[in-house]
């Protein structure tokens, strides 16, 4: 019973943290973009514009709910829900911290579910998110939306493969799919004598491939072909307004946070504090948040630095460069592990 209660509390805390972090991320996006362009960014609502996400939310609620003529109504409403739900569900297995406490002999970890197939779960549920984009594009009865949805699906197929293959390299090294176990292996010992024992130092190629693929996976610049303002108006969410659009937005930022935390978990030692194995669990959570925040910043930073790829360049990169490289990486990892 208490274990159930603990799980419930964890779910509420982690879900709340995720959604508020997504809100913060929208503010951070606007601030970072402003700073990079020598501007100040939102600073009128609350101190330093801190209440801007709240103001945005209020604005979204008061906008008109619009369903275009000829749209498939129920799919049109379902699509943003799928998009947001997939992003929020995949956070369930991310280990935010280590062992918190023990209740009735059951160990309570700081993750909603301590699944043995955690890595698989994130990939599977994260892959579902694309249905939101495709259905949204299809149901809108608009050529721009349909193009956005089609591009998103093609892109997702091309980049999910190298993404999964680079995860596979880490899994092969760690010999487990449980994300907490993967972190625990990275916690103890050192790499090459002085560095923390993080997978990034053993799998630099997989790390680079994984980070680039997360950009494509979350439809972020320079791979945001699902939106592609300059060609497709707004891409898959051209016809969306009000809270339905906000839900797509929330889903995108949640997916970014999940992908950033997955990068941290797989390659940068997750909740482990470098050079301090017996760190208390709350310091572990702090370390995790700090590392994730860096990758969130990287998402924003890259968006305001690089121009968008051309669509054929994207496909070339995905199939002719990333797939062979990730296969090569798997081969090398397999050799190294079996020797």
């Amino acid at each position: 019973m208490t274990v159930l209660l603990a799980t419930f509390i964890k779910a509420v805390v982690i879900f709340g943290a995720l959604v508020s972090a997504a809100g913060l991320a929208t503010l951070a996006e606007r601030k970072v973009s402003a700073w990079i362009q020598h501007r100040l960014g939102p600073n009128r609502v609350g101190p330093f514009g801190a209440l801007q996400p709240l103001a945005d939310g209020v604005k979204f609620i008061f906008k008109e709910e619009f369903v275009p003529e000829g749209a498939t109504r129920w799919l049109f409403i379902l699509a943003p829900a799928i998009s947001a739900m997939a992003a929020m569900m995949s956070v369930a297995v991310i280990p935010f911290g280590g062992l918190v406490t023990e209740i009735d002999g059951t160990e309570i970890y700081f993750s909603i579910a301590d699944l043995d197939i955690g890595a698989l779960w994130v990939v599977a549920i994260g892959g579902l998110g694309i249905y939101g984009v495709i259905l949204g594009g299809w149901a809108s009865n608009s050529k721009y939306s349909l193009y956005g949805g089609l591009r998103a699906s093609a892109q997702m197929i091309s980049y999910e493969l190298p993404l999964i293959l680079s995860i596979l390299a880490v899994v092969a090294m760690s010999d487990t799919l449980n994300l907490r176990e993967i972190v625990n292996i990275q916690t103890s010992g050192t790499a090459f004598g002085f560095l923390p024992n993080w997978n990034i130092f053993y799998q630099p190629l997989a790390f680079v491939l994984f980070v680039v693929c997360t950009f494509a996976e979350t439809n972020r610049h320079p791979f945001d072909f699902a939106e592609c303002e300059s060609e497709l108006v707004g891409g898959f969410h051209t016809e969306y307004s009000s809270m339905k659009f906000a839900l797509f937005f929330l889903g995108e930022y949640c997916a970014m946070i999940v992908m950033a935390s997955l990068t941290v978990t797989l390659f940068l030692g997750g909740f482990s504090v470098p050079y301090w194995e017996e760190a208390p669990w709350y310091l572990g959570v702090a370390a995790f948040v700090a590392k994730t925040a860096f990758f969130m910043f990287l998402f924003l930073w890259v968006r305001w630095t690089l121009p968008r790829f051309r669509y054929d360049q994207l496909m070339n990169l995905g199939w002719k460069v990333f797939l062979p490289l990730s296969l090569l990486n798997i081969l090398l990892t397999g050799l190294a592990v079996s020797l």
Partner: protein
């Protein structure tokens, strides 16, 4: 015929990642540079003597208007923004406007009224802000237009200087 030879890319450039890092370094540097935003209502736009804001009527030190309601500005105004009704008075200048209205919905801030005025009575001030909730409110009468000449002194000096420059420096 011009043959443009494309630059051969080096391996580092074709790998793309080092170039991406170079770009990221530039944008990171930009983040810490001073911002070029002006926070407008708090940081007003600096006015210079050349600033050509809304026209204002100059007042003498005793509070009387310099305007003699000759109608020159009314004629000069290309936007028909000025309306003047004059009447006779006992002061040495003999005439004074009893109605002097500038419709700021029409005014284009061209400064022709200032040039046309023979009595140095109307000047372009450095006041730029213009807002109201009604159209009526933007038709300014004498009470809203008059300013002590000292408040317009910067502009008056400037205009006199540039008007005098041929007389002072011309070789003929």
């Amino acid at each position: 015929m011009v043959i443009v030879k494309r630059k051969e890319l080096t391996l580092a450039e074709r790998l793309y990642i080092p170039e991406v890092l170079r770009g990221l370094r530039i944008t990171l540097g930009k983040m810490f540079q001073p911002k070029s935003t002006r926070q407008y209502p708090e940081e007003p736009i600096p006015s210079t003597e050349v600033t050509r804001g809304q026209p204002r009527l100059a007042e003498n030190e005793d509070g009387t208007l310099r305007c003699v309601s000759c109608g020159m500005c009314e004629i000069a105004c290309p936007a028909y923004a000025i309306t003047i009704d004059g009447h006779e008075i006992d002061r040495p200048i003999e005439r004074e406007p009893e109605r002097f209205e500038i419709d700021f919905l029409r005014c284009i801030l061209c400064g022709f009224c200032e040039e046309a005025c023979p009595k140095e009575a109307i000047w372009m001030s450095d006041e730029l802000e213009l807002a109201d909730t009604t159209r009526k409110g933007l038709i300014y009468g004498i009470e809203k237009l008059k300013r002590p000449a000292s408040a317009l002194q910067k502009r008056i000096d400037y205009v006199k200087r540039i008007n005098d420059r041929w007389r002072t420096f011309s070789s003929t």
